[in-house]
């Protein structure tokens, strides 16, 4: 990195953390069993309910976003139960990996990368199960899969599930929450998981999960092992405004500041601003001659295909080393083939402009794949 230049963070998390939030991180650490910290935590819970659009429970656990995904599996299910995963990229597939780690099998409706899960395909998959459909205990979805830059119609997919089974609907909204519309209550989502370092404009290290009344029924019955993230313990600490074990006090205080910024702007306005920046970026990438990767691009991240002869991994390294621009490359089968520019949280048009100016320069000079 070039230490004389501004650092432009355009990756899908961590995203730039606004000054007032960073300042909170460096305040002296409060003890977590005090009224003062309880008040901060209460404000965070209220702010999260505002962003999740729910009147239900929202829990906070110390950990990366993936820890909330695993917590959802461990809290909702018992050995031998049937599940379904409908995925549209690498993050969607993570649900199947977690379920497998717990010895659970999942029916996997996997969309071609770059396409959103088609509600009709989900419908057919469920109907094809016959009587087994009624036995499904959980369906796992992804709001926006940043590996491909694709948004799924979670509302429509949930309606398809509801018509056919009593399974709980679990949504990974780690990258999408606070970036593009998500309505936990209106869409009747049972568990929505997210994290601090994307749309929620905080440093990484906190994970969040909402749980509906239907989810709590499943949680009470679930028999998979869990202790640290046993959500029953978290719920029972809520009336005292406490988080079990020693929480990441500084990150919680910073999250309160970030949520205040979101509430001041208004969540609907954040959605509109993010959508506009996404449209702007899509156009700008098009002007660079790059095609969009996704057929249903999300608002929080744009993925663009690189020319066949470009070594995408070298390009991403050069952008960071020469220009201090952190843009993400592709993952797994897309390694080296795409660039991904994020529009989450506090990312502004001037950041995208600077990032794409560097990209334009280096694309012309990019080494070919060896």
């Amino acid at each position: 990195m070039n230490s004389k230049k501004r650092y432009i963070l355009l990756t899908p998390g961590p995203t730039p953390v606004p000054e007032p939030v960073l300042r909170k991180l460096s305040e002296p650490v409060l003890h977590h069993r005090t009224k003062e910290f309880g008040a901060v935590f209460k404000e965070v819970v209220e702010g999260l309910r505002y962003v999740f659009r729910t009147k239900g429970t929202v829990l906070l656990q110390t950990g990366s976003g993936t820890s909330a995904m695993e917590a959802a599996v461990a809290n909702l299910l018992s050995p031998g139960e049937e599940t379904l995963v409908a995925s549209a990229g690498a993050f969607g597939n993570r649900w199947t990996k977690i379920l497998k780690a717990y010895g659970l099998s999942a029916i996997h409706v996997e969309e071609e990368w770059g396409r959103p899960v088609d509600p009709e395909r989900l419908e057919k998959a469920l109907d094809g199960l016959g009587a087994k459909c009624g036995e499904l205990k959980a369906v796992f979805l992804t709001h926006t899969d940043t590996s491909t830059g694709t948004a799924c119609d979670v509302a429509a997919l949930t309606r398809v599930v509801r018509k056919r089974t009593d399974a709980v609907v679990v949504v990974d909204a780690i990258s999408g929450l606070g970036g593009q519309p998500l309505e936990t209550d209106d869409w009747d989502l049972d568990v929505v998981v997210s994290a601090s370092q994307k749309g929620l404009m905080n440093a990484p290290g906190l994970a969040f999960a909402s749980a509906s009344a239907r989810a709590w029924k499943a949680i009470e019955k679930a028999r998979l092992p869990r202790f640290y993230w046993d959500w029953r313990t978290y719920r029972s600490s809520l009336p005292e405004n406490e988080i079990p074990y020693t929480p990441s006090v500084s990150l919680v205080a910073a999250q309160a500041a970030a949520l205040r910024l979101i509430r001041e702007e208004g969540i609907e306005n954040v959605w509109v601003r993010t959508r506009h920046l996404a449209e702007y970026t899509r156009n700008a990438l098009g002007a660079l001659g790059l095609a969009l990767f996704s057929k249903a691009p999300c608002d929080v991240l744009t993925a663009a295909l690189l020319p066949k002869e470009t070594d995408g991994q070298a390009l991403v390294r050069t952008l960071l080393e020469k220009h201090n621009v952190s843009i993400a490359g592709g993952q797994e089968k897309l390694k080296g083939r795409i660039v991904r520019v994020s529009h989450m949280g506090a990312i502004r048009q001037e950041d995208v402009d600077e990032g794409l100016a560097a990209l334009r320069k280096e694309l012309a000079a990019a080494p070919a794949v060896r």
Copy 2:
């Protein structure tokens, strides 16, 4: 709290975070898949190996200390395996709770609160098992149990285990590490778990674990479910200086700064300073007429019995509200009966002086138990 006074944090975690560490927390967030972050993480791993006194692996996971305790259980064991817990307080008992959550039974050698686990008692317990002793897969110990302010002789207890079984020895050193002597390699400890917010002088939110060659053999065979904290994934990311999933970047950068302070002072000097502060505090509490609670007081925290007529919970609240002094009360069966003053990390004699001056004042005025 009284916002005009300095906040004196004398609790057993979080502990005061030094200025250079706090400053690191408020620096712009780096992306976690960069050479720059890799270099910071590498420095943290080296610093942790220095503090753990090990040439073996030390892993870092985003979570509270309890997450590393649970990770130890999930990574080392398989369903149906035999374990033993030797505990001397509430934190030691947490091992049995985690094991139970995973459906494992534990032989429980429970010492009276205030006494350390007696190696002879452990010896008898193991010998009493007969042939079953050889089947033990793991023995769980606690270095310092802050619920009672007691230090266990982990080296002696481990020798007792080694003579009788091949079980891995797992040590909770969350509160003791970086405060009083602990020799991972010399004492032949297989897994030592700790966290960022005590002797390691960082904000809470990171957990650490060392693993010996014997531990890695157990980890490879273990079949309990785990994904987010599957240590095999963490180990395979180490050569790239990467942490799986999105780590708490800011806390990792701050941890590097805190470990630098420890290395500059020298870990042996930190141990001596902490021991001196413990001796000083014991004397000062004695001068207040309070008896020590523990028969084997640890160096990182002093627990003192309150007069029978004192309402300890009200006292602790008053200290915070009137004096901005955070001192811990008792937990579980010691609720309201003791105060606990910590000497960890960056706590200095003047903090203890101010805290005890407030305690002296309020002890005289303390309301009686209702």
